[in-house]
C-alpha cells in the first residue's frame, strides 16, 4: 500500500506543475495589472514603472515563473501586495474560521445524510422514500443567494434566533453563536445531493452477498442495516466528505461575506478584486494540493479495502465529477 501511496504522490508532481502553469498564465497574462491600483489616485507612468519594478512584474515571464516555483518549493509566497500581510499568516489565520464553519457542517451533513439514507433505503420505493427525496430536491433548488438573503432577514433579524453577523475570538462562541446560521444554510443546500449519493451507497451494500448471507442466517433487518450495511457504506461516505472539504474552503465565500466570517473564501474574493497575486497563487496552489491529497486519501487502495470494489469506488469518490461534486459545489457557491 505504501508503494502505491508513494507512486500516487509522485504522480501529483506533474499535476502541480500543470496547476502552476495554468494559474500563472491565467493570472499573470490575463489578470489585471495591480500596479495601477496600488499607485493611488494620481500617478504618472514613472511611478507605475517603479511599482512594477518593486513587485517584480516587469521581469520577463520566465523569471517570474521561476520565482513562482521557488516560492512553492520554499513554501514562502512573500506578502500580500496590498496589505503586506505575509501569505503564510493569511492562510494560518483564515483557515480557522473557515474550518469552524465547514467541519461541523460536514459532520452534521454526514450524520443527517447517512441517517436519512439508511432510513429511506430501508423503506426504498415507498412513498416516504420518494417524499424525502422530493423535499430534499426542492430544498436544493432554491438559489443559495436567496437562502442567505431570506434566512438572514427572517431568522437573524426578525426572529432574532441568531446574530445577524459577526465573529469573535472565542472558538465556542464562534461555533455556537456565529456559525450556526451559516451552517444551517449550507446544510439545506448540500443535504440533497449527498443524500442521493449515500442512498445509492447503501443500496449498493444491500445487494452484496454478505447481506443475503446475513439474512439467510436470520439476523434482524435492523441489525443488518445499522451494523453491517452502515459499517460498509460509511467508508465511501466519509471519504466522500473528506474529499469535498478543500473545494468548500473557497466555495463557502458567499456565506462568509454575508455573515462577516473572516475565512478563506472571502479572502480569495478580496485578493481577486485587488489583483493580489501572491495571495491568489498561494491559495490556489495550496487548495490544489489539498484537493489532490484528499482524493488520494479517498482512494480505496490507500484505505486497503477490498479490491473488488475498487474500480467502482475510485470512480465514485472523485469529488469533482458531475455525479455529485460539481453540482454540489455549484450549489454551495
Amino acid at each position: 500500500m505504501w508503494a502505491y501511496v508513494i507512486r500516487r504522490l509522485w504522480q501529483m508532481i506533474p499535476t502541480i506543475v500543470g496547476v502552476v502553469l495554468l494559474v500563472f498564465v491565467l493570472f499573470n497574462l490575463f489578470g489585471g495589472d495591480p500596479a495601477y491600483v496600488l499607485a493611488g489616485k494620481i500617478s504618472n507612468p514613472e511611478q507605475i514603472d517603479n511599482i512594477r519594478r518593486q513587485l517584480g512584474v516587469d521581469q520577463p515571464y520566465y523569471v517570474q515563473l521561476g520565482i513562482f516555483f521557488k516560492q512553492i518549493l520554499t513554501a514562502d509566497f512573500g506578502a500580500s501586495w496590498s496589505t503586506n500581510e505575509p501569505v503564510s499568516h493569511i492562510l494560518a489565520t483564515r483557515l480557522g474560521p473557515s474550518l469552524t464553519v465547514l467541519v461541523p457542517l460536514l459532520v452534521l451533513e454526514t450524520l443527517i445524510a447517512i441517517g436519512l439514507a439508511l432510513a429511506v433505503a430501508y423503506v426504498r420505493g415507498s412513498l416516504t422514500d420518494r417524499m424525502v427525496m422530493i423535499v430534499c430536491t426542492v430544498g436544493l433548488s432554491v438559489s443559495i443567494l436567496v437562502y442567505i438573503i431570506v434566512f438572514q432577514y427572517v431568522f437573524a433579524y426578525q426572529l432574532g434566533w441568531f446574530p445577524v453577523q459577526g465573529w469573535g475570538n472565542d472558538f465556542r462562541e464562534n461555533l455556537v453563536r456565529y456559525a450556526s446560521l451559516p451552517i444551517l444554510i449550507l446544510l439545506v443546500v448540500s443535504i440533497a445531493p449527498n443524500l442521493r449519493l449515500y442512498r445509492t451507497f447503501v443500496l449498493d451494500e444491500i445487494n452484496q452477498d454478505y447481506v443475503r448471507t446475513a439474512r439467510a442466517k436470520g439476523l434482524s433487518e435492523n441489525r443488518i442495516m445499522w451494523v453491517h450495511v452502515l459499517r460498509n457504506a460509511s467508508i465511501p461516505m466519509i471519504t466522500h466528505v473528506m474529499a469535498a472539504l478543500p473545494g468548500l474552503l473557497i466555495g463557502a465565500f458567499l456565506v462568509e461575506r454575508f455573515f462577516s466570517i473572516p475565512g478563506i473564501g472571502r479572502e480569495v474574493i478580496l485578493a481577486v478584486e485587488r489583483s493580489d497575486f501572491p495571495v491568489i497563487k498561494a491559495l490556489t496552489v495550496y487548495v490544489a494540493i489539498a484537493t489532490m491529497v484528499a482524493n488520494l486519501a479517498a482512494d480505496p487502495h490507500v484505505q486497503g479495502r477490498r479490491p473488488a470494489g475498487a474500480a467502482q469506488m475510485s470512480a465514485l469518490f472523485d469529488p469533482h465529477p458531475g455525479c455529485a461534486g460539481r453540482p454540489q459545489r455549484g450549489g454551495r457557491r
Partner: protein
C-alpha cells in the same frame, strides 16, 4: 448519479455478455411513463422550454424592457402604494426633476466652502451676479459657434444667459420643433400603472415579463453550457479512454489540473480571459470549467467498453477508430452522457446566479434569473419582495422539476438501481 459506475465488478461482467440492448431506451421510457413524479416534472420542464421558445421568438415578453408601471409598482393583489415610496414621485414625462435642494440637516447650505479665508460672502455675491448675467467666455472660441448661429431660430434667449450657453441656439431650434413626436421616449407618467399583476422592478418594468425573459436566458445558458461541457468532456473522455496510454495520460493530466484548481478561482480566471461580451461568454465560462465530471465518467466507460467483444468485432470488420468510438461505443454510453448533461443543466442554471453575484452575469440589455436575484438582493429589505419571489420561485420550480426528472431518468436508465428501488 452513479449509474455508469454501478456496474457489476469486472469478473461478474465477463459471464454476462454485455448486450447492446436496443430496448434500453424503450424500457427506460416505459419506466418513466409509469413514474408519475417523473411525468409531472417532465411536463413542467417542457412547459418551461416552450416558454423559452415563445419568448425567444418574441411571441411573449418581447417588450419586457418597457417601463409600464411606476417604479416598484406593487403586485395588484397587494394594492398600490398609499404614499409613493421615497424619493421623488414615481414616473414622469421626461422633464428632469428638480434637483433636491438643501434639506434640513444638510451640512452644506448652498455656500461655497473656504477653509482659508472669508471670501465666502464675496463669492456668494459674485455667484449671484453671475447667475443673473454671466460674463461672456473670454478668450476661447466655441467650436460650434458658427453652426449655432446658423440654426438659431431667433427665439427669445433662455433665462440663464445669452451668448454663454454654447447650446443656447440649438435649444431654441429644438424649442421651435417641439410638439413633434419624440422618438423612443418613455411612456408618460399618466400611462404608467400603479400596480401590475406581479409588480414592477426598480425601473417600472413588469416583473412577469422580466421573469419570462429571464427564464429564457437562464435556461438557454444552462442548456448551452451543459452542451459545451458535455461535448468537451465526452470527446476528451472518449479519446482518453479509447486510446489509452500516453493519450490517456496527457488528457488525465489535463483533467487533474482542472479539477484541482479551486472552482471559484478557475471561473474568475477564465472570466478574465474571455473578457465580457455577452450571454455566450457565460456559456463558455461555465462550459470550459465544468467538463471534468463528464470526462471522468466517459473515460471510465470507454476503458470498459473498448475491450468488449462487439468492439473487437467492429475492429475485425475494419471499422476506423473514430467509427468505433462514436458509432459503436457511443450509443452504449449515451445514457451516461444524457444523465450527466441534465445534471449539469441544473448546476449551471444555479451557477449563473453566482456568476451574476460576482459581476460576470448577462449584459445589460439581457435579463436572467441571476441578474434579477442580484438586483432584488436589497429589495427584500425595502419591502419590495416580488422580484425576489418571482425569480427565486420560478427558478426553484424549474430546478426542482429538472432535478426530479433527472433522478427518474437515471433510475429508469440504470438497470441495476431499477432492481433495487423496485424491491
Amino acid at each position: 448519479m452513479n449509474d455508469a459506475t454501478m456496474k457489476p465488478p469486472l469478473a461478474a461482467r465477463r459471464e454476462i455478455p454485455h448486450v447492446v440492448s436496443p430496448g434500453l431506451w424503450t424500457l427506460a421510457w416505459r419506466r418513466l411513463v409509469s413514474d408519475s413524479v417523473a411525468m409531472v416534472s417532465l411536463a413542467i420542464v417542457v412547459a418551461f422550454v416552450l416558454l423559452m421558445a415563445a419568448s425567444g421568438l418574441g411571441v411573449i415578453a418581447a417588450d419586457w424592457a418597457r417601463e409600464v408601471g411606476v417604479n416598484y409598482a406593487p403586485p395588484t393583489f397587494v394594492g398600490p402604494d398609499a404614499a409613493p415610496a421615497a424619493p421623488g414621485a414615481p414616473g414622469r414625462a421626461g422633464e428632469p426633476a428638480a434637483p433636491a435642494g438643501p434639506t434640513p440637516g444638510s451640512a452644506f447650505d448652498s455656500t461655497v466652502v473656504d477653509p482659508i479665508g472669508d471670501v465666502l460672502a464675496e463669492l456668494k455675491a459674485e455667484a449671484k451676479g453671475k447667475a443673473e448675467a454671466p460674463p461672456a467666455p473670454g478668450g476661447f472660441v466655441d467650436p460650434l459657434a458658427d453652426v449655432m448661429k446658423e440654426i438659431d431660430a431667433a427665439k427669445a434667449a433662455p433665462p440663464e444667459g445669452k451668448s454663454v450657453d454654447p447650446l443656447a441656439d440649438v435649444m431654441k431650434d429644438i424649442e421651435a420643433g417641439r410638439g413633434a413626436k419624440e422618438p423612443a421616449a418613455a411612456p408618460a407618467a399618466t400611462e404608467r400603472r400603479a400596480t401590475l399583476p406581479f409588480g414592477a422592478d426598480k425601473w417600472g418594468r413588469d416583473v412577469i415579463a422580466k421573469t419570462i425573459k429571464g427564464s429564457e436566458t437562464s435556461i438557454f445558458v444552462g442548456l448551452a453550457a451543459a452542451l459545451v461541457a458535455t461535448f468537451i468532456g465526452t470527446v476528451l473522455g472518449a479519446v482518453a479512454g479509447y486510446y489509452g496510454r500516453w493519450v490517456d495520460d496527457t488528457l488525465n493530466w489535463f483533467y487533474s489540473i482542472f479539477s484541482s484548481i479551486p472552482y471559484l478561482l478557475l471561473i474568475l480566471a477564465v472570466a478574465a480571459v474571455l473578457q465580457h461580451k455577452g450571454t455566450m461568454t457565460i456559456v463558455f465560462i461555465l462550459g470550459l470549467t465544468g467538463w471534468t465530471g463528464v470526462f471522468r465518467l466517459i473515460r471510465a466507460e470507454y476503458l470498459k467498453h473498448k475491450g468488449r467483444e462487439y468492439v473487437q468485432a467492429a475492429d475485425a470488420i475494419g471499422a476506423s477508430n473514430a467509427r468505433r468510438m462514436f458509432r459503436h461505443i457511443f450509443p452504449n454510453v449515451s445514457h451516461v452522457v444524457l444523465v450527466q448533461m441534465s445534471i449539469l443543466v441544473v448546476a449551471f442554471i444555479k451557477s449563473e446566479v453566482i456568476l451574476s453575484y460576482l459581476g460576470f452575469g448577462v449584459p445589460v440589455d439581457v435579463v436572467s434569473w441571476g441578474s434579477m436575484l442580484n438586483e432584488a438582493q436589497n429589495e427584500l429589505l425595502l419591502g419590495k419582495w416580488w422580484q425576489l419571489a418571482a425569480a427565486g420561485g420560478t427558478m426553484a420550480v424549474l430546478v426542482t422539476a429538472f432535478s426530479l426528472f433527472t433522478d427518474a431518468l437515471r433510475d429508469a436508465l440504470d438497470p441495476k438501481l431499477k432492481g433495487t428501488t423496485g424491491q
